[in-house]
Symmetry: C2
Subunit: 172 residues, 2 copies
């Protein structure tokens, strides 16, 4: 239980409430828009895209599964399923690993590399058009600072768990 006994509910102030709802709305719409654009124009999900971005930023376009999972902050299971689907579509390949025979290298295929190089500009364009073009320079900085602060706070809560909260005893 996160909160066993709640003494005083401490409701949100009106302007906090407004900010929270606006944030939820922005987030839902932005995510939906990015996903739709990716799917419609290139048949990719944001998840596909993110995996390929990580791979393409590494020399040889190859990474170990857990390395990738840590970089993306994904559960290994989620990533494994994702990789299976991407492999079926020929975007990546699994090649086995001589250093550690349990392990696997995940490699971006030529087709995968071409796909992401084609898709990336359109994606950036959407992010620019609907986010950065709408914000002032100060707002961009504010968004960065806010996001960093909240992300760090959440990191501090789940201290250094690799596979986040894998046992029953969640971070609390």
């Amino acid at each position: 239980m996160t909160q066993a006994t709640i003494e005083a509910p401490r409701w949100l102030e009106p302007h906090e409430q407004a900010a929270w709802r606006a944030y939820l709305e922005m987030n839902a719409k932005l995510t939906a828009h990015l996903n739709r654009q990716m799917q419609a124009d290139f048949g990719l999900s944001i998840a596909d895209f993110s995996v390929m971005v990580q791979l393409s930023e590494h020399v040889d376009g190859r990474m170990r599964v857990l390395e990738l999972a840590r970089a993306m902050d994904w559960e290994k299971s989620r990533l494994s399923h994702q990789l299976t689907r991407m492999q079926q579509r020929g975007l990546i390949e699994r090649s086995n690993c001589s250093e550690d025979r349990r392990g696997a290298w995940i490699v971006l295929t030529d087709h995968g590399r071409k796909t992401i190089e084609t898709a990336a500009p359109g994606h950036v364009e959407v992010v620019r058009t609907y986010l950065f073009d709408v914000l002032s320079a100060d707002q961009v900085d504010a968004l960065g600072a806010i996001s960093r602060a909240v992300a760090d706070r959440l990191d501090a809560a789940c201290t250094g768990v690799v596979d986040p909260c894998q046992t029953a005893d969640t971070c609390d």
Copy 2:
């Protein structure tokens, strides 16, 4: 196609890139945390919770399906599936509508109302702890303004489509 021919990619500036990645990270972690807390403590998803919040804010705790869909900005199909699952768990009920015999009223059950009243304080507590307690008053205002601006921009792009982008010709 969103971008048929791309002349100059217009990549993101370093500080924009940083802000964007931080935003994605915050969002992923915050969403995951909220979902986990809800699921672990009350067996609810955020989707369940959101639906019940809408219903509970209406007199009699009942709404028509499309009214609910519009209020939440969900596709009607998504909502319909969601309602089916919630009905199976006894959180809501469908009762048929005398005014329009195609339609249905969605009603919060007693169990549903109790559930959300129990769950709400814990949810708010998490939002407060990991978001608002971390931010200054100025940052809260900034977050509200940023979110509103971006959400409005996205609204303007998909002008007044109820069921967002239902045909092949997506908003753009």
